[in-house]
């Protein structure tokens, strides 16, 4: 009985979650390919929008796709590692400035990076002159920028979970003669794999959708990410006519994120610490 109630509730939420996506699917396979002719349930099915998308020279979709996935994968893994290091220090060690550091992280995070977009633009104008490989229109420059914003939220998230991993475990390892590095890689990391998976997923999705800075950074059509390119696809007069292509692109963009989620699903195991310490 109680299980049935749970199912009803979750099904209702699923309906809420899915109906706009159904609309996008319907728009993507709509043979007419315009916004005005799209309804919630598909009235016809044709791959025309997908074909147009890949045939288009104006919108090099495949290139954007590769750029986006590459940036999102590298930046989510690198930022994960960086913030995991910091979280380990904040959670397990006591040092001068620890509390100040934690507070500073929280405060810095409140000043959105994109509010500083003017100065970021000026800084990277210099960088482009000195090191073209890390300047505008390159994925590496954008990666550096993304890593700058990595520490704040992720560190807090992971510190929270490291705090719930019993300290007795690393104390035991210390007694056995493990160094801090060995404790980090051999004891802590395996134990927090579930939260690492969750965080990697969040970072991946966040980077895939990042628009404002990528829009300033990548102006060359070949270096654009999906977000920047697709925004241009339905800008201005193209809004109604290109909506089918846009919906098709939206669906294809969702594929890597859904894929990463399914891939990480098995790491999100239950009963993590329940078995580690008895009593």
């Amino acid at each position: 009985m109680k299980l049935a109630l749970r199912h009803v509730f979750v099904l209702a939420v699923c309906a809420f979650a899915l109906f706009p996506i159904l609309f996008v699917v319907s728009a993507a396979i709509n043979p007419l390919g315009t916004l005005a002719s799209t309804e919630l349930l598909p009235t016809g099915a044709s791959p025309a929008n997908f074909a147009n998308l890949f045939a288009s020279d104006t919108y090099p979709f495949a290139r954007w796709f590769f750029n986006s996935v590459f940036i999102a994968l590298v930046s989510s893994f690198a930022s994960l590692l960086l913030s995991m290091f910091a979280a380990y220090a904040f959670s397990r060690m006591r040092f001068a400035g620890r509390r100040a550091g934690l507070l500073a992280l929280l405060l810095i995070q409140m000043f959105p990076q994109f509010l500083a977009i003017v100065t970021i633009f000026m800084i990277f104008t210099e960088v482009t002159e000195l090191y073209p490989a890390f300047g505008f229109n390159t994925v590496w420059g954008l990666l550096l920028l993304y890593l700058g914003g990595a520490l704040g939220v992720n560190t807090w998230l992971m510190k929270g979970f490291l705090d719930t991993v019993p300290k007795e475990l690393d104390e035991a390892a210390t007694v056995d003669g493990a160094t801090h590095a060995q404790i980090f890689w051999r004891v802590i990391m395996p134990l927090v794999t579930p939260i690492l998976a969750v965080t990697a997923l969040l970072a991946f999705i966040g980077t895939m959708s990042e628009f404002l800075m990528a829009n300033v950074f990548l102006r060359d059509p070949g270096s654009k990410t999906l977000a920047v390119g697709m925004y241009g696809m339905i800008a201005g007069d193209h809004r109604n006519a290109n909506f089918g292509m846009f919906a098709a692109a939206t669906l294809l963009t969702a594929v890597p994120t859904v894929g990463v989620f399914l891939w990480l699903q098995k790491y999100i195991v239950s009963g993590l610490t329940a078995g580690a310490v008895k009593g």
Binding site: R94, M110, Q113, I120, M122, D163, H180, A247
Partner: protein, 523 residues
């Protein structure tokens, strides 16, 4: 308080413990650190030397030395873990933000982009007119060796002069053709029309200085002498000409005349607190400030509480040992989050469209959802709920798995109802892990530029004041004021950013203080 067992143990053991043996991993990791540092130095130093940026070079070398020291010794263990992320944080977040804050005290923006010297150059160059009474010379480009020179023929006197980058000198022995152009000149190679056309860019860039003016080519066969009608006089620190005098005003960063009018081109100066004062006293800006702030707080609170409540409810519903189909449910619930958010915001705008939007279609209504203040506000909160609750579901699921099931089982055995077990056991433990995230989420939604800019663009706007719309957040509102039709006013925009930052920081500091006791249990 903070000295835990492990540290106490180490403090006692360190003096007696013999030096730890050098392992392979130790050596390899040290070599790796040195190699990476050296590689970065090798890559980064040459361009800096070429650009002669000695400060940056010194900074880079100091940082490299510090990193090498840090990772080669056994000391400073916490710093070893903190430095990698902190370097990026400082370079790409703290520095730009600090730079922005200093910009808030200047008038940087359109008309005030460069230094005073650059402004003077721009004013003088912009005021160049053909000097009154000066001749229009016949121009023949020529080469002296490899150097481009002008042969200039005065139309009245037929006197030929040689114009170079150094100045104008009379030239004897030149042979004039029928059209009045120079055909030959001693020691010079006269360029024929096609050759001259090939060097058109060089010719138009060439300038021959004269007393108080410049001779420049006008096309390929004419040259005129231009004079700057406005000139800067260092003695009075003013610009003269055109029948007026504009004195430099170092407070405004403009050249201003007696009537208070200023020249268009100014320079960047420190204006102190002017930008902040303007935000508070300028009627169009401060008049609606409180209204926007109020809606902004409601929007952020409703977004955070709504998404957290819904996300947690779903996570709890699925967190049951006998629940079936959790995998499928999880994927369905997570899908809104997996969809690219910027694209879905644009899709939602179309769902709410009055004429062919899906919402009206399904309800059989004809409501302009995003065109009325009330429904527009509900609409953007709903859209944000849709976008945000999967995230809360994910983090709550993660946190739930870190809570030992024994705790709720123990509560059940002790006779607690499920609701009491949730209120007294699960929720407090969840909040320990998630409160910082909720605060961050609040800060994020407080400045959720995309959620508004991509759906309502701040609208609907009342007919009386097109400046501020019902769904405007502080950030979209100030972006419109600063970057809208009025031109770029970066200094002013930065000042508003500082206001936003202060407000969010204050709210968050209060929230953080309230949860601090809870956090210290684990800290």
């Amino acid at each position: 308080m903070s000295l835990d067992v492990r540290e106490a143990g180490r403090a006692a053991a360190t003096p007696a413990r013999p030096r730890r043996e050098i392992t392979t991993a130790f050596v390899v990791s040290r070599i790796a650190v040195l190699a990476v540092t050296a590689a970065i130095l090798l890559y980064a130093v040459p361009p800096l030397v070429a650009a002669e940026s000695w400060t940056a070079l010194a900074l880079l070398c100091a940082a490299a030395a510090a990193v090498a020291c840090l990772y080669l010794t056994r000391r400073f263990v916490p710093a070893k873990y903190l430095v990698p992320g902190t370097v990026f944080l400082l370079a790409f977040q703290v520095f730009p933000v600090a730079y922005t804050v200093t910009t808030a005290f200047t008038n940087f923006g359109d008309g005030h982009r460069g230094s005073k010297a650059e402004a003077v150059t721009a004013i003088e160059a912009g005021s160049v007119r053909q000097a009154p009474g000066s001749p229009e010379y016949g121009l023949t480009p020529a080469l002296r060796g490899e150097e481009l020179v002008f042969l200039l023929v005065d139309p009245k006197t037929k006197q030929v002069s040689l114009g170079t980058a150094d100045g104008l000198t009379p030239l004897a022995g030149a042979e004039l053709g029928l059209t009045g152009k120079v055909v030959a000149a001693p020691g010079l190679t006269v360029l024929k029309a096609p050759e001259a056309a090939a060097r058109a860019a060089d010719i138009s860039a060439m300038a021959v200085p004269t007393d108080g003016g410049l001779i420049k080519a006008n096309g390929l066969s004419r040259a005129v002498e231009g004079r700057a009608t406005l000139t800067y006089d260092a003695a009075c620190d003013c610009v003269r000409g055109d029948g007026g005098t504009w004195a430099a005003d170092e407070e405004q960063g403009y050249f201003v005349n007696a009537r208070g009018e200023h020249l268009a081109q100014g320079w960047q100066v420190n204006v102190g607190l002017d930008n902040f004062a303007r935000a508070l006293t300028d009627r169009t800006i401060s008049g609606y400030f409180l209204g926007v702030l109020g809606w902004n707080v409601i929007f952020a609170l409703a977004s955070v509480l709504g998404t957290f409540a819904l996300g947690m409810a779903v996570a709890l519903a699925l967190h049951h040992p006998r629940m079936r189909g959790t995998k499928v449910y999880r994927i369905a619930v997570i899908l809104p989050y997996a969809m690219p958010s910027f694209a879905m915001l644009l899709v939602w705008r179309d769902l709410f469209n009055r004429d062919f939007g899906l919402v009206n279609q399904m309800l059989g209504a004809h409501v302009d959802w995003l065109g009325e203040p009330g429904t527009a506000r509900l609409g953007v909160i709903l859209v944000n709920l849709w976008l945000g609750f999967p995230y809360m579901f994910l983090v709550t699921t993660g946190a739930l798995q870190a809570i030992p099931r024994e705790l709720t089982e123990a509560a059940a055995i002790d006779g607690a109802t499920p609701w009491r077990a949730f209120r007294r056991v699960t929720l407090p433990l969840l909040l320990v892990a998630l409160t910082p995230l909720l605060i961050s989420s609040f800060a994020f939604n407080f400045n959720n530029f995309n959620a508004i800019a991509l759906t309502t663009e701040g609208g609907p706007f009342p007919a009386a004041s097109p400046q501020v719309g019902s769904t405007d957040l502080l950030i979209t509102y100030t972006f419109r004021l600063a970057f809208g039709a009025g031109g770029a006013q970066f200094g002013f925009a930065a000042a508003i950013s500082v206001f936003i930052f202060t407000i969010v920081a204050l709210i968050s500091a209060v929230a953080f203080r309230r949860t601090r006791k809870q956090e210290e249990v684990y800290a």
